[in-house]
Symmetry: none
Subunit: 400 residues, 2 copies
């Protein structure tokens, strides 16, 4: 039994408001003895830690480094191993494409093939994004397959997304990317019987695309991978009886939020814009997912000092969130992004829950090591939502 199956039977609606602030990639590891959170001057985050109850969360399970998809799926209360979002779907969500139920999404690499049809460059010499955009426009305009609509959209350089919209489609299809140069592209093969019809559409797309691209060397071929459909995930409304809103700048997070039933609020590009959006909409929703991206980006750039500065900027905006007086405020991350590793990592993330119903502990800094001493202990991120619901008094008693 999944957690949400029990939660669905217990959730009740009341007027409490929950704010979940996700500082993407906030967790780190020490450089010169300090993590980014330890180095930053964060009087407001520390005050929240002092007033709330703290802990440390594993995004998936100990040792697993999540991508943004699984990281957020877990924060939203679903088992990220059980509810996997396909790579094609994540690619489409990442560029803000509005997938509909039943759509098939796949990642495209523009590639170079020689006259024998063998792949000589899987990335077509990393063509410029503007050339990619030109190719996508042409493919989307010219490729016609019977009984389905084709979308071809640019990601960046040699990367794009294919979406096939039609009836009775299936994403159970093998990649056509041979993963090695010197080999021909693979045929798209159905993994299950239901995918046979979709495979014939994909073959038709590849054949027409190959013709159209024949004069577009080095981008004279497409390689496809990560065929997938939107997973069937029960929504926040169904499980939690919440009326949830998402405030995020990057398309990927908006896409994952939309997947679980959140309304995506339009906002600007800066942290301040996001806070303004929170303020302006605070009366209209009872759950806010507020996503902060630049901590992750600076960690991925290996820029320790910039990550510290972003954390300090986030810290300076905390009083504005507190001034709204949310019944429950949680601050955490979807995963760690240590500047030292220049990538996402498996290290557990600090979490604080501030609410009148919290059993306050004696943690007084919002850092990895201090939160590790908190009374919430160490737990799996998929339990965060039940804790937030409980602290908002939105869960009735289980059993008599």
């Amino acid at each position: 039994m999944e957690n949400w199956e029990l939660l669905r039977t217990l959730a009740i609606k009341n007027s409490s408001r929950i704010v979940l602030l996700v500082i993407d990639g906030a967790g780190g590891i020490q450089i010169d003895g300090k993590t980014e959170l330890e180095k930053a001057f964060t009087p407001n985050l520390d005050m929240v830690a002092r007033e709330g109850v703290c802990g440390l969360m594993d995004p998936v399970f100990p040792g697993i480094t999540p991508g943004s998809g699984p990281g957020h799926i877990a924060l939203f209360g679903y088992d990220p191993v059980r509810y996997q979002v396909g790579r094609g779907v994540l690619g489409a969500l990442g560029i803000g494409f509005h997938l509909e139920r039943g759509d098939i999404a796949a990642r495209i690499n523009f590639a170079t093939v020689d006259e024998k049809g063998l792949v000589t460059d899987r990335r077509a010499g990393r063509i410029p994004t503007s050339f990619n955009q030109e190719l996508c426009r042409e493919l989307e305009e010219k490729v016609k397959v019977e009984g389905a609509k084709i979308f071809v959209r640019t990601v960046k350089e040699h990367r794009a997304v294919l979406v096939i919209r039609g009836k009775g489609l299936s994403g159970e299809i093998k990649d056509t990317d041979p993963q090695k140069e010197g080999l021909p592209p693979l045929d798209p093969e159905p993994i299950t019987r239901e995918a046979e019809k979709t495979v014939s559409l994909v073959k038709e797309f590849i054949s027409q695309a190959k013709n159209i691209l024949s004069s577009r060397h080095p981008a004279n071929m497409v390689l496809l991978r990560g065929f997938s459909q939107l997973p069937h995930i029960p929504s926040f409304q169904e499980i939690y009886k919440l009326n949830p809103a998402c405030i995020a700048v990057y398309p990927m997070y908006k896409g994952v939020a939309r997947l679980v039933g959140m309304e995506v609020l339009s906002t600007g590009e800066t942290l301040r814009d996001e806070i303004e959006t929170l303020k302006n909409n605070f009366d209209s929703y009872d759950f806010f997912f507020l996503h902060i991206k630049p901590t992750d980006s600076s960690g991925e750039d290996g820029d320790f000092e910039r990550k510290v500065k972003v954390i300090e900027e986030v810290d300076s905006l905390i009083p504005e969130i507190l001034s709204l007086n949310p019944d429950v405020l949680a601050i955490t991350a979807d995963h760690s992004t240590p500047s030292l590793l220049r990538s996402h990592s498996w290290h557990a993330v600090p979490v604080v829950i501030r609410a009148k119903t919290a059993r306050v502990d004696d943690v007084d800094r919002f850092t990895e090591l201090e939160c590790a001493k908190g009374a919430l202990g160490r737990f799996s991120a998929k339990y965060l939502m039940s804790l937030l619901m409980a602290h908002a008094l939105k869960l009735s008693k289980f059993g008599a």
Copy 2:
């Protein structure tokens, strides 16, 4: 695989004795900076904490507030989500009715219906308990259904319990309580095919009850809910090879203990009576579940000071338990009942295990926050029994 399936293959019998002291609802949250456990003067509980190893347990999973049923099912080593005890069964256990395997139990509300048969009061104006007792006696005496025996027993005010005893019955039946005034009672409907025969017996009961009660306004109807049977739970004897005894004052806890195979010892009304019962029977059993109720009751009344006093009274009796020299003494709670919330809550509960085999930590107070720093860390209550068995050296090695 459930925990007990492994434990059953590892359990061995020896002469060690385990005492599990459950201080019902002991956990709290702070009022004026202190929880009830923090406020109480507890030199003996603190000594046990100092001599043992401490931790913090989630009764079900983070955020879930358990009723007494799931709370104790977890303490006894079963997954409380997998082994759910139905509301009708808990109602029957709660009044000390000795359910047999196969019995169907349901909760009764005496209710008022108008001449059109619409429910005008789901609680029949909360009739006095003495009137309820009169009605139950009459129904149990007069209602006759073919091939089954009917029991109707008072709980309190408008609440009673129905038990149907017969062959081949099923509790997979929908409630007849429409949950709203102005509607007629619902027909009892089978959820599965196997329940069809039972449904016809229930219909017969309702029809006869309605006739008998017709002159008993405002209690002129019965509404039924929570149809259920004793779940099939493997017993303590089967899993742990224990010879377990229960010492409790309230019927509900005796009922849950009986459900897992404990012998329920007769005892008096006070904590002192319970300790005397423990002393008098200490040589005859190798596992004692000792249940203390008034911590929970005072928490539910929102009476912080009374809860503190009860904790201090429990503390004063600890030396008498220690004088028996149990090989393993565990002290914990089935859930928290913070006076501030006046109800059960989801907050994790402190636990201490004192045994010669314990890896002693440096916790020296039996409070929520100090136990949170203990070497047992934070874990799910369903693992407590395997820890107790281990500390009693009653579990052999798993694998070679």
